[in-house]
Protein backbone atom coordinates (compact mmCIF):
# COMPACT_ATOMS: atom_id res chain seq x y z
CA UNK A 1 0.00 0.00 0.00
CA UNK A 2 1.38 3.37 -0.99
CA UNK A 3 1.42 6.37 1.28
CA UNK A 4 -1.95 7.81 2.16
CA UNK A 5 -2.96 11.24 0.93
CA UNK A 6 -4.10 13.98 3.25
CA UNK A 7 -7.75 13.43 2.34
CA UNK A 8 -7.52 9.70 2.95
CA UNK A 9 -5.95 10.22 6.36
CA UNK A 10 -8.56 12.80 7.33
CA UNK A 11 -11.31 10.46 6.20
CA UNK A 12 -9.76 7.71 8.29
CA UNK A 13 -9.84 9.87 11.42
CA UNK A 14 -13.49 10.75 10.75
CA UNK A 15 -14.37 7.10 10.24
CA UNK A 16 -12.72 6.06 13.49
CA UNK A 17 -14.41 8.82 15.44
CA UNK A 18 -17.88 7.88 14.23
CA UNK A 19 -18.55 5.22 16.86
CA UNK A 20 -18.17 7.64 19.77
CA UNK A 21 -21.08 9.53 21.32
CA UNK A 22 -21.22 13.13 20.11
CA UNK A 23 -19.48 14.66 23.11
CA UNK A 24 -16.65 12.15 23.16
CA UNK A 25 -16.27 12.53 19.44
CA UNK A 26 -15.74 16.26 19.80
CA UNK A 27 -13.15 15.74 22.51
CA UNK A 28 -11.20 13.00 20.78
CA UNK A 29 -11.15 14.85 17.45
CA UNK A 30 -8.86 17.45 19.02
CA UNK A 31 -6.25 14.80 19.82
CA UNK A 32 -5.98 13.32 16.33
CA UNK A 33 -4.46 15.15 13.41
CA UNK A 34 -2.82 14.84 10.04
CA UNK A 35 0.69 16.26 9.95
CA UNK A 36 1.02 19.44 7.95
CA UNK A 37 4.45 20.94 7.46
CA UNK A 38 2.97 24.37 7.01
CA UNK A 39 1.72 24.45 10.59
CA UNK A 40 4.44 25.90 12.80
CA UNK A 41 2.85 25.49 16.20
CA UNK A 42 1.29 22.27 17.31
CA UNK A 43 -1.41 23.94 19.36
CA UNK A 44 -3.11 24.89 16.10
CA UNK A 45 -3.62 21.27 15.14
CA UNK A 46 -3.47 19.07 18.25
CA UNK A 47 -4.50 19.22 21.89
CA UNK A 48 -2.37 17.42 24.42
CA UNK A 49 -1.86 16.93 28.15
CA UNK A 50 -5.58 16.73 28.85
CA UNK A 51 -7.46 14.35 31.10
CA UNK A 52 -8.33 11.09 29.36
CA UNK A 53 -12.00 10.48 28.67
CA UNK A 54 -13.66 8.18 31.19
CA UNK A 55 -14.64 4.94 29.51
CA UNK A 56 -11.95 4.76 26.86
CA UNK A 57 -8.91 2.52 27.16
CA UNK A 58 -5.99 4.82 27.77
CA UNK A 59 -2.42 3.64 28.02
CA UNK A 60 -1.17 6.30 30.43
CA UNK A 61 0.55 5.95 33.78
CA UNK A 62 0.27 7.98 36.97
CA UNK A 63 2.35 10.60 38.75
CA UNK A 64 3.91 7.93 40.98
CA UNK A 65 5.04 6.07 37.85
CA UNK A 66 6.63 9.27 36.59
CA UNK A 67 8.51 9.95 39.80
CA UNK A 68 9.43 6.53 41.22
CA UNK A 69 9.55 4.65 37.94
CA UNK A 70 11.27 7.21 35.76
CA UNK A 71 13.12 10.01 37.51
CA UNK A 72 14.04 8.79 41.01
CA UNK A 73 13.99 5.02 40.69
CA UNK A 74 17.20 4.62 38.67
CA UNK A 75 19.30 6.59 41.22
CA UNK A 76 21.11 3.50 42.34
CA UNK A 77 22.66 4.35 45.70
CA UNK A 78 19.54 5.81 47.26
CA UNK A 79 16.68 3.82 48.70
CA UNK A 80 13.30 4.73 47.27
CA UNK A 81 10.45 3.87 49.60
CA UNK A 82 7.11 3.29 47.90
CA UNK A 83 5.15 4.86 50.72
CA UNK A 84 1.67 3.38 50.81
CA UNK A 85 0.12 -0.01 50.00
CA UNK A 86 2.43 -2.69 48.70
CA UNK A 87 1.14 -3.08 45.13
CA UNK A 88 2.40 0.08 43.42
CA UNK A 89 5.99 -0.71 44.26
CA UNK A 90 5.88 -4.44 43.78
CA UNK A 91 4.22 -4.47 40.36
CA UNK A 92 6.56 -1.83 38.98
CA UNK A 93 9.69 -3.27 40.54
CA UNK A 94 12.63 -3.67 38.14
CA UNK A 95 10.32 -3.61 35.13
CA UNK A 96 12.12 -0.81 33.38
CA UNK A 97 15.53 -2.46 33.15
CA UNK A 98 17.58 0.55 34.22
CA UNK A 99 20.96 -1.15 34.30
CA UNK A 100 23.52 -0.17 36.89
CA UNK A 101 26.90 -1.18 38.28
CA UNK A 102 27.06 -2.23 41.92
CA UNK A 103 26.15 -4.94 44.35
CA UNK A 104 22.41 -4.96 44.85
CA UNK A 105 21.46 -4.90 48.51
CA UNK A 106 24.90 -3.70 49.60
CA UNK A 107 25.69 -0.38 47.93
CA UNK A 108 23.05 -0.22 45.21
CA UNK A 109 19.32 -0.83 45.48
CA UNK A 110 17.93 -0.39 41.96
CA UNK A 111 15.97 -3.61 41.55
CA UNK A 112 14.81 -3.92 45.15
CA UNK A 113 11.38 -2.93 46.37
CA UNK A 114 11.08 -0.96 49.59
CA UNK A 115 7.57 -0.25 50.79
CA UNK A 116 5.82 0.84 53.95
CA UNK A 117 3.05 -1.70 53.16
CA UNK A 118 0.07 0.32 54.41
CA UNK A 119 -2.63 -1.54 56.31
CA UNK A 120 -6.06 -0.40 57.45
CA UNK A 121 -4.73 0.92 60.75
CA UNK A 122 -2.17 3.11 58.97
CA UNK A 123 -4.95 4.69 56.92
CA UNK A 124 -7.01 5.30 60.06
CA UNK A 125 -4.27 6.48 62.43
CA UNK A 126 -1.76 7.88 59.88
CA UNK A 127 1.48 6.34 58.69
CA UNK A 128 4.07 8.87 59.85
CA UNK A 129 5.30 6.81 62.77
CA UNK A 130 5.64 3.74 60.61
CA UNK A 131 7.57 5.75 58.03
CA UNK A 132 10.04 7.05 60.62
CA UNK A 133 10.47 3.53 61.95
CA UNK A 134 11.18 1.91 58.59
CA UNK A 135 13.70 4.59 57.76
CA UNK A 136 15.73 3.86 60.88
CA UNK A 137 15.37 0.17 60.07
CA UNK A 138 16.67 0.77 56.53
CA UNK A 139 19.60 2.67 57.99
CA UNK A 140 20.60 -0.27 60.19
CA UNK A 141 20.02 -2.95 57.53
CA UNK A 142 21.58 -1.09 54.59
CA UNK A 143 24.15 1.27 56.09
CA UNK A 144 25.82 1.97 52.72
CA UNK A 145 22.79 3.77 51.30
CA UNK A 146 23.49 7.42 50.45
CA UNK A 147 20.02 8.71 51.11
CA UNK A 148 16.34 7.89 51.10
CA UNK A 149 13.46 9.18 49.03
CA UNK A 150 9.82 8.85 50.03
CA UNK A 151 7.67 8.23 46.96
CA UNK A 152 4.08 8.87 47.99
CA UNK A 153 1.30 6.66 46.74
CA UNK A 154 -2.33 7.86 46.54
CA UNK A 155 -3.41 7.28 50.19
CA UNK A 156 -0.67 9.54 51.58
CA UNK A 157 -2.22 12.58 49.95
CA UNK A 158 -5.74 11.46 50.80
CA UNK A 159 -5.14 11.02 54.54
CA UNK A 160 -2.85 14.06 54.73
CA UNK A 161 0.29 12.58 56.26
CA UNK A 162 3.07 15.09 56.84
CA UNK A 163 5.95 13.26 55.16
CA UNK A 164 8.00 16.47 54.90
CA UNK A 165 8.17 16.72 58.70
CA UNK A 166 9.20 13.07 59.01
CA UNK A 167 11.83 13.60 56.30
CA UNK A 168 13.34 16.61 58.06
CA UNK A 169 13.47 14.83 61.39
CA UNK A 170 14.98 11.67 59.94
CA UNK A 171 17.59 13.66 58.00
CA UNK A 172 18.84 14.95 61.35
CA UNK A 173 18.81 11.49 62.91
CA UNK A 174 20.59 9.54 60.17
CA UNK A 175 22.61 12.47 58.76
CA UNK A 176 21.76 11.61 55.17
CA UNK A 177 19.44 13.34 52.70
CA UNK A 178 15.82 12.22 53.02
CA UNK A 179 13.70 13.52 50.16
CA UNK A 180 9.91 13.56 50.43
CA UNK A 181 8.27 13.42 46.99
CA UNK A 182 4.59 14.33 46.75
CA UNK A 183 3.93 12.20 43.67
CA UNK A 184 0.56 10.74 44.64
CA UNK A 185 -0.90 8.92 41.66
CA UNK A 186 -4.03 11.02 41.41
CA UNK A 187 -2.09 14.20 40.67
CA UNK A 188 -2.24 15.41 37.08
CA UNK A 189 -3.50 13.64 34.01
CA UNK A 190 -0.56 11.32 33.34
CA UNK A 191 2.95 10.40 34.47
CA UNK A 192 4.10 13.73 33.09
CA UNK A 193 3.23 15.64 36.25
CA UNK A 194 5.17 13.01 38.22
CA UNK A 195 8.28 13.94 36.25
CA UNK A 196 7.71 17.58 37.08
CA UNK A 197 7.12 16.91 40.79
CA UNK A 198 10.23 14.73 40.91
CA UNK A 199 12.27 17.43 39.19
CA UNK A 200 11.02 19.97 41.70
CA UNK A 201 11.98 17.63 44.55
CA UNK A 202 15.50 17.34 43.10
CA UNK A 203 15.66 21.12 42.87
CA UNK A 204 14.46 21.70 46.42
CA UNK A 205 16.18 18.87 48.29
CA UNK A 206 19.29 17.80 46.36
CA UNK A 207 20.68 20.23 43.83
CA UNK A 208 21.93 22.89 46.22
CA UNK A 209 23.52 20.49 48.71
CA UNK A 210 27.09 21.19 47.60
CA UNK A 211 26.78 24.83 46.60
CA UNK A 212 29.43 25.92 49.11
CA UNK A 213 31.64 22.88 48.66
CA UNK A 214 34.44 23.51 46.16
CA UNK A 215 36.27 20.22 46.63
CA UNK A 216 35.02 18.93 43.27
CA UNK A 217 37.69 19.60 40.66
CA UNK A 218 35.98 20.57 37.46
CA UNK A 219 37.51 20.73 33.99
CA UNK A 220 36.45 22.87 31.01
CA UNK A 221 35.09 19.73 29.36
CA UNK A 222 32.60 18.59 32.00
CA UNK A 223 29.21 17.58 30.67
CA UNK A 224 26.29 15.66 32.11
CA UNK A 225 23.88 13.23 30.51
CA UNK A 226 20.38 14.22 31.60
CA UNK A 227 17.23 12.25 30.89
CA UNK A 228 18.89 8.99 29.90
CA UNK A 229 17.59 6.12 32.02
CA UNK A 230 20.14 3.55 30.88
CA UNK A 231 17.50 1.15 29.60
CA UNK A 232 19.40 -1.92 28.51
CA UNK A 233 22.61 0.13 28.87
CA UNK A 234 21.64 3.14 26.74
CA UNK A 235 23.51 5.70 28.80
CA UNK A 236 26.70 3.68 28.65
CA UNK A 237 26.54 3.51 24.86
CA UNK A 238 26.05 7.29 24.80
CA UNK A 239 28.74 7.96 27.37
CA UNK A 240 31.52 6.19 25.44
CA UNK A 241 30.94 8.43 22.43
CA UNK A 242 31.10 11.59 24.51
CA UNK A 243 34.23 10.44 26.29
CA UNK A 244 35.93 9.47 23.04
CA UNK A 245 35.46 12.96 21.67
CA UNK A 246 37.29 14.36 24.69
CA UNK A 247 34.50 15.34 27.06
CA UNK A 248 34.24 14.26 30.67
CA UNK A 249 30.85 12.95 31.73
CA UNK A 250 30.43 13.91 35.38
CA UNK A 251 26.86 12.78 35.94
CA UNK A 252 24.23 10.48 34.56
CA UNK A 253 20.62 11.40 35.28
CA UNK A 254 19.35 9.13 36.28
CA UNK A 255 20.22 5.74 34.76
CA UNK A 256 23.20 4.28 36.67
CA UNK A 257 23.32 7.62 38.50
CA UNK A 258 24.25 8.37 42.09
CA UNK A 259 23.28 11.02 44.59
CA UNK A 260 26.79 12.50 44.49
CA UNK A 261 26.57 12.87 40.72
CA UNK A 262 23.31 14.76 41.05
CA UNK A 263 24.75 17.04 43.71
CA UNK A 264 27.79 17.81 41.53
CA UNK A 265 25.80 18.53 38.39
CA UNK A 266 25.70 22.32 39.00
CA UNK A 267 29.47 22.27 38.52
CA UNK A 268 29.26 20.99 34.93
CA UNK A 269 29.75 23.16 31.84
CA UNK A 270 26.92 21.81 29.70
CA UNK A 271 23.84 19.72 30.36
CA UNK A 272 23.02 17.29 27.58
CA UNK A 273 19.32 16.56 27.61
CA UNK A 274 18.06 13.39 25.98
CA UNK A 275 14.54 12.99 27.34
CA UNK A 276 13.20 16.51 27.05
CA UNK A 277 9.82 15.69 28.49
CA UNK A 278 10.96 14.31 31.83
CA UNK A 279 13.95 16.50 32.66
CA UNK A 280 13.58 19.83 30.88
CA UNK A 281 12.34 21.37 34.13
CA UNK A 282 15.56 20.80 36.03
CA UNK A 283 17.67 21.81 33.02
CA UNK A 284 15.84 25.11 32.78
CA UNK A 285 16.30 25.63 36.50
CA UNK A 286 20.04 24.98 36.31
CA UNK A 287 20.37 27.36 33.38
CA UNK A 288 18.70 30.08 35.37
CA UNK A 289 20.36 29.49 38.73
CA UNK A 290 23.83 28.27 37.74
CA UNK A 291 24.10 29.55 34.17
CA UNK A 292 24.66 26.08 32.72
CA UNK A 293 23.45 25.92 29.11
CA UNK A 294 21.52 22.86 28.02
CA UNK A 295 20.83 21.31 24.66
CA UNK A 296 18.66 18.51 23.40
CA UNK A 297 20.43 15.76 21.54
CA UNK A 298 19.43 12.57 19.79
CA UNK A 299 21.55 9.43 19.77
CA UNK A 300 19.28 7.19 17.67
CA UNK A 301 20.74 6.31 14.27
CA UNK A 302 24.00 7.50 12.65
CA UNK A 303 22.52 10.56 10.91
CA UNK A 304 21.15 12.01 14.14
CA UNK A 305 24.20 10.96 16.16
CA UNK A 306 26.56 12.78 13.81
CA UNK A 307 24.28 15.81 13.87
CA UNK A 308 24.14 15.78 17.67
CA UNK A 309 27.87 15.19 18.16
CA UNK A 310 28.66 18.19 15.97
CA UNK A 311 26.10 20.31 17.80
CA UNK A 312 27.54 19.30 21.18
CA UNK A 313 31.08 20.05 19.94
CA UNK A 314 29.85 23.50 18.91
CA UNK A 315 29.77 24.43 22.59
CA UNK A 316 33.49 23.70 23.02
CA UNK A 317 36.87 24.51 21.44
CA UNK A 318 38.53 23.04 18.36
CA UNK A 319 39.94 20.09 20.27
CA UNK A 320 36.45 18.77 20.93
CA UNK A 321 35.27 19.66 17.42
CA UNK A 322 38.11 17.54 16.00
CA UNK A 323 37.21 14.86 18.51
CA UNK A 324 33.63 14.75 17.24
CA UNK A 325 34.80 14.32 13.65
CA UNK A 326 37.23 11.64 14.76
CA UNK A 327 34.49 9.69 16.53
CA UNK A 328 32.15 9.89 13.53
CA UNK A 329 34.98 8.77 11.24
CA UNK A 330 35.98 5.95 13.58
CA UNK A 331 32.54 4.35 13.61
CA UNK A 332 31.76 5.03 9.96
CA UNK A 333 32.86 1.63 8.73
CA UNK A 334 30.90 -0.02 11.53
CA UNK A 335 27.57 1.67 10.93
CA UNK A 336 27.93 1.58 7.15
CA UNK A 337 28.25 -2.19 7.45
CA UNK A 338 25.08 -2.31 9.59
CA UNK A 339 23.16 -0.27 7.04
CA UNK A 340 24.53 -2.33 4.15
CA UNK A 341 23.42 -5.52 5.85
CA UNK A 342 19.96 -4.55 7.07
CA UNK A 343 18.78 -1.81 4.73
CA UNK A 344 18.01 -4.17 1.84
CA UNK A 345 15.93 -6.31 4.20
CA UNK A 346 14.00 -3.38 5.69
CA UNK A 347 13.81 -0.87 2.82
CA UNK A 348 10.40 0.67 2.31
CA UNK A 349 8.77 -0.89 5.40
CA UNK A 350 6.28 1.29 7.21
CA UNK A 351 6.24 1.80 10.96
CA UNK A 352 3.66 3.11 13.42
CA UNK A 353 4.80 4.28 16.83
CA UNK A 354 2.99 5.03 20.03
CA UNK A 355 5.29 5.49 22.99
CA UNK A 356 6.05 8.17 25.57
CA UNK A 357 8.71 10.73 26.34
CA UNK A 358 11.11 11.28 23.50
CA UNK A 359 10.88 8.19 21.33
CA UNK A 360 7.96 9.00 19.05
CA UNK A 361 10.15 11.66 17.45
CA UNK A 362 13.72 10.60 18.28
CA UNK A 363 13.69 7.14 16.69
CA UNK A 364 12.32 8.41 13.37
CA UNK A 365 15.89 9.19 12.23
CA UNK A 366 17.06 5.68 13.06
CA UNK A 367 14.24 4.12 11.03
CA UNK A 368 15.00 6.44 8.13
CA UNK A 369 18.65 5.38 8.19
CA UNK A 370 17.40 1.85 7.59
CA UNK A 371 15.21 2.99 4.70
CA UNK A 372 12.01 2.64 6.71
CA UNK A 373 9.24 5.18 6.96
CA UNK A 374 7.30 6.23 10.06
CA UNK A 375 3.68 6.69 8.97
CA UNK A 376 2.08 7.39 12.31
CA UNK A 377 3.31 8.53 15.68
CA UNK A 378 1.93 9.64 18.99
CA UNK A 379 2.71 10.23 22.64
CA UNK A 380 1.07 8.97 25.79
CA UNK A 381 1.77 12.05 27.84
CA UNK A 382 3.42 14.73 25.70
CA UNK A 383 2.71 18.41 25.95
CA UNK A 384 2.45 20.88 23.10
CA UNK A 385 6.16 21.67 23.14
CA UNK A 386 6.85 18.02 22.30
CA UNK A 387 4.47 18.11 19.36
CA UNK A 388 6.13 21.34 18.17
CA UNK A 389 9.31 19.32 17.85
CA UNK A 390 7.55 16.33 16.28
CA UNK A 391 5.79 18.09 13.42
CA UNK A 392 9.11 18.84 11.72
CA UNK A 393 10.38 15.28 12.06
CA UNK A 394 7.35 13.54 10.60
CA UNK A 395 6.49 13.34 6.92
CA UNK A 396 3.64 15.36 5.47
CA UNK A 397 0.13 13.88 5.71
CA UNK A 398 1.16 11.28 8.32
CA UNK A 399 -1.03 10.46 11.28
CA UNK A 400 -0.39 11.99 14.69
CA UNK A 401 -2.38 10.83 17.70
CA UNK A 402 -2.24 12.05 21.27
CA UNK A 403 -3.20 9.74 24.17
CA UNK A 404 -4.67 7.33 21.63
CA UNK A 405 -7.30 4.92 22.92
CA UNK A 406 -7.04 1.18 22.46
CA UNK A 407 -9.91 1.22 20.00
CA UNK A 408 -8.55 4.08 17.88
CA UNK A 409 -5.09 2.55 17.70
CA UNK A 410 -6.46 -0.79 16.52
CA UNK A 411 -8.63 0.84 13.87
CA UNK A 412 -5.76 2.98 12.62
CA UNK A 413 -3.58 -0.07 12.32
CA UNK A 414 -6.26 -2.00 10.44
CA UNK A 415 -6.53 0.78 7.88
CA UNK A 416 -2.96 2.03 7.60
CA UNK A 417 -1.58 -1.55 7.62
CA UNK A 418 1.94 -0.78 8.84
CA UNK A 419 4.66 -3.43 8.56
CA UNK A 420 5.83 -2.85 12.11
CA UNK A 421 4.42 -1.32 15.27
CA UNK A 422 6.48 0.05 18.13
CA UNK A 423 4.56 0.53 21.36
CA UNK A 424 4.20 -0.84 24.88
CA UNK A 425 3.58 -4.21 26.46
CA UNK A 426 -0.17 -3.65 26.77
CA UNK A 427 -0.44 -3.30 22.99
CA UNK A 428 2.04 -6.00 22.10
CA UNK A 429 -0.10 -9.11 22.18
CA UNK A 430 -3.15 -7.51 20.57
CA UNK A 431 -1.15 -6.62 17.51
CA UNK A 432 0.85 -9.82 17.44
CA UNK A 433 -2.42 -11.75 17.41
CA UNK A 434 -3.53 -9.56 14.52
CA UNK A 435 -0.42 -10.84 12.75
CA UNK A 436 1.54 -7.61 12.76
CA UNK A 437 5.21 -7.57 13.77
CA UNK A 438 5.62 -5.64 16.99
CA UNK A 439 8.49 -4.24 19.06
CA UNK A 440 7.95 -3.15 22.63
CA UNK A 441 9.67 0.24 22.50
CA UNK A 442 9.45 1.23 26.18
CA UNK A 443 12.27 -1.01 27.34
CA UNK A 444 13.44 -2.18 23.91
CA UNK A 445 11.63 -5.54 24.16
CA UNK A 446 14.16 -6.82 26.70
CA UNK A 447 17.01 -5.97 24.32
CA UNK A 448 19.14 -2.85 24.00
CA UNK A 449 20.97 -0.58 24.18
CA UNK A 450 19.58 1.37 21.22
CA UNK A 451 21.49 4.63 21.80
CA UNK A 452 24.78 5.44 20.12
CA UNK A 453 26.55 3.59 17.31
CA UNK A 454 26.72 0.37 19.32
CA UNK A 455 23.02 0.62 19.97
CA UNK A 456 22.19 1.24 16.33
CA UNK A 457 23.61 -2.14 15.36
CA UNK A 458 21.36 -3.80 17.93
CA UNK A 459 18.40 -1.68 16.87
CA UNK A 460 18.80 -2.72 13.24
CA UNK A 461 19.22 -6.38 14.15
CA UNK A 462 16.11 -6.32 16.36
CA UNK A 463 13.95 -4.65 13.73
CA UNK A 464 15.08 -7.17 11.12
CA UNK A 465 14.60 -10.07 13.53
CA UNK A 466 11.02 -8.98 14.23
CA UNK A 467 9.95 -7.91 10.77
CA UNK A 468 11.42 -10.77 8.78
CA UNK A 469 10.55 -13.44 11.29
CA UNK A 470 9.02 -16.46 9.49
CA UNK A 471 6.35 -16.80 12.19
CA UNK A 472 4.21 -14.03 10.66
CA UNK A 473 3.28 -16.37 7.80
CA UNK A 474 2.07 -18.97 10.28
CA UNK A 475 -0.55 -16.85 12.05
CA UNK A 476 -3.44 -18.43 10.16
CA UNK A 477 -4.33 -22.04 10.97
CA UNK A 478 -3.28 -24.36 8.13
CA UNK A 479 -6.84 -25.57 7.38
CA UNK A 480 -8.00 -21.96 6.98
CA UNK A 481 -5.42 -21.21 4.33
CA UNK A 482 -7.17 -21.60 1.01
CA UNK A 483 -4.48 -20.81 -1.51
CA UNK A 484 -1.70 -22.77 0.11
CA UNK A 485 -3.82 -25.88 0.77
CA UNK A 486 -2.28 -28.16 -1.88
CA UNK A 487 1.19 -27.45 -0.58
CA UNK A 488 0.15 -28.23 2.99
CA UNK A 489 -1.46 -31.49 1.90
CA UNK A 490 1.72 -32.45 0.08
CA UNK A 491 3.79 -31.77 3.17
CA UNK A 492 1.42 -33.88 5.29
CA UNK A 493 1.51 -36.83 2.90
Amino acid sequence: MSAMTREETEALIQEVLEVYPEKAQKDRAKHLTVNDHEVEQSKKCITSNRKSLPGVMTIRGCAYAGSKGVVWGPIKDMIHISHGPVGCGQYSRAGRRNYYVGTTGINTFGTMNFTSDFQEKDIVFGGDKKLAKIMTEIESLFPLNKGITIQSECPIGLIGDDIEAVAKKTTKDIEKPVVPVRCEGFRGVSQSLGHHIANDAVRDWVLGNRDNDNSFESTPYDVTIIGDYNIGGDAWASRTLLEEMGLRVVAQWSGDGTLAEMENTPKAKLNLLHCYRSMNYISRHMEEKYGIPWMEYNFFGPTKIAESLRKIAGFFDDKIKEGAERVIEKYKAEYDAVIAKYRPRLEGKRVMLYVGGLRPRHVIGAYEDLGMEVVGTGYEFAHNDDYDRTLKEMGNATLIYDDVTGYEFEEFVKKVKPDLIGSGIKEKYIFQKMGIPFRQMHSWDYSGPYHGYDGFAIFARDMDMTLNNPCWNKIKAPWLKVDEAPEAAAAGA
Partner: protein, 71 residues
Protein backbone atom coordinates in the same frame (compact mmCIF):
# COMPACT_ATOMS: atom_id res chain seq x y z
CA UNK B 1 -0.22 36.68 36.00
CA UNK B 2 1.91 33.82 34.73
CA UNK B 3 5.47 33.24 35.78
CA UNK B 4 7.50 33.22 32.63
CA UNK B 5 11.02 31.99 32.09
CA UNK B 6 12.80 33.82 29.32
CA UNK B 7 15.90 32.33 27.76
CA UNK B 8 18.05 33.09 24.75
CA UNK B 9 17.56 30.70 21.85
CA UNK B 10 20.37 29.25 19.77
CA UNK B 11 19.65 31.75 17.01
CA UNK B 12 19.66 34.72 19.39
CA UNK B 13 15.89 35.13 19.67
CA UNK B 14 14.15 35.18 23.05
CA UNK B 15 12.08 32.19 24.09
CA UNK B 16 9.02 32.79 26.26
CA UNK B 17 8.27 29.73 28.39
CA UNK B 18 5.25 29.44 30.66
CA UNK B 19 5.93 26.46 32.91
CA UNK B 20 2.30 26.08 34.04
CA UNK B 21 1.10 25.75 30.47
CA UNK B 22 4.22 24.15 28.98
CA UNK B 23 4.00 26.81 26.37
CA UNK B 24 7.13 27.71 24.43
CA UNK B 25 6.91 30.66 22.09
CA UNK B 26 9.35 33.08 20.61
CA UNK B 27 9.08 36.75 21.40
CA UNK B 28 8.37 38.76 18.26
CA UNK B 29 8.53 42.29 19.57
CA UNK B 30 9.30 44.02 22.85
CA UNK B 31 7.96 47.54 23.36
CA UNK B 32 10.95 48.87 25.24
CA UNK B 33 14.27 47.21 24.51
CA UNK B 34 17.20 49.53 25.04
CA UNK B 35 20.39 49.67 27.08
CA UNK B 36 18.56 51.34 29.95
CA UNK B 37 15.32 49.36 30.18
CA UNK B 38 13.47 46.27 28.98
CA UNK B 39 9.78 45.52 29.11
CA UNK B 40 6.40 46.97 28.29
CA UNK B 41 4.10 45.06 25.98
CA UNK B 42 5.67 41.86 24.72
CA UNK B 43 4.19 40.28 21.63
CA UNK B 44 4.75 36.62 20.82
CA UNK B 45 4.97 35.05 17.39
CA UNK B 46 1.52 33.55 17.82
CA UNK B 47 0.01 37.00 18.28
CA UNK B 48 -0.70 36.91 22.03
CA UNK B 49 0.44 39.86 24.11
CA UNK B 50 1.81 40.11 27.64
CA UNK B 51 2.78 43.10 29.73
CA UNK B 52 5.53 43.72 32.26
CA UNK B 53 6.56 47.00 33.84
CA UNK B 54 9.83 48.03 32.20
CA UNK B 55 12.83 46.76 34.12
CA UNK B 56 15.87 48.96 34.47
CA UNK B 57 18.64 48.03 33.90
CA UNK B 58 17.65 45.22 31.48
CA UNK B 59 17.68 41.76 33.13
CA UNK B 60 20.20 39.16 32.07
CA UNK B 61 18.64 36.06 30.57
CA UNK B 62 17.72 33.33 31.42
CA UNK B 63 15.49 34.62 34.16
CA UNK B 64 11.98 34.17 35.51
CA UNK B 65 9.67 37.17 35.38
CA UNK B 66 6.07 37.77 36.26
CA UNK B 67 3.97 38.96 33.35
CA UNK B 68 0.43 40.22 33.05
CA UNK B 69 -1.84 39.38 30.18
CA UNK B 70 -2.25 42.43 27.97
CA UNK B 71 -5.72 43.09 26.45
Amino acid sequence: MPNVMIRVKDDGGLLFYIAKKDQEDEIATVEKDSDSEWGGVVELTDGSKYYIDPISPPPSFPTTLRFKRAE
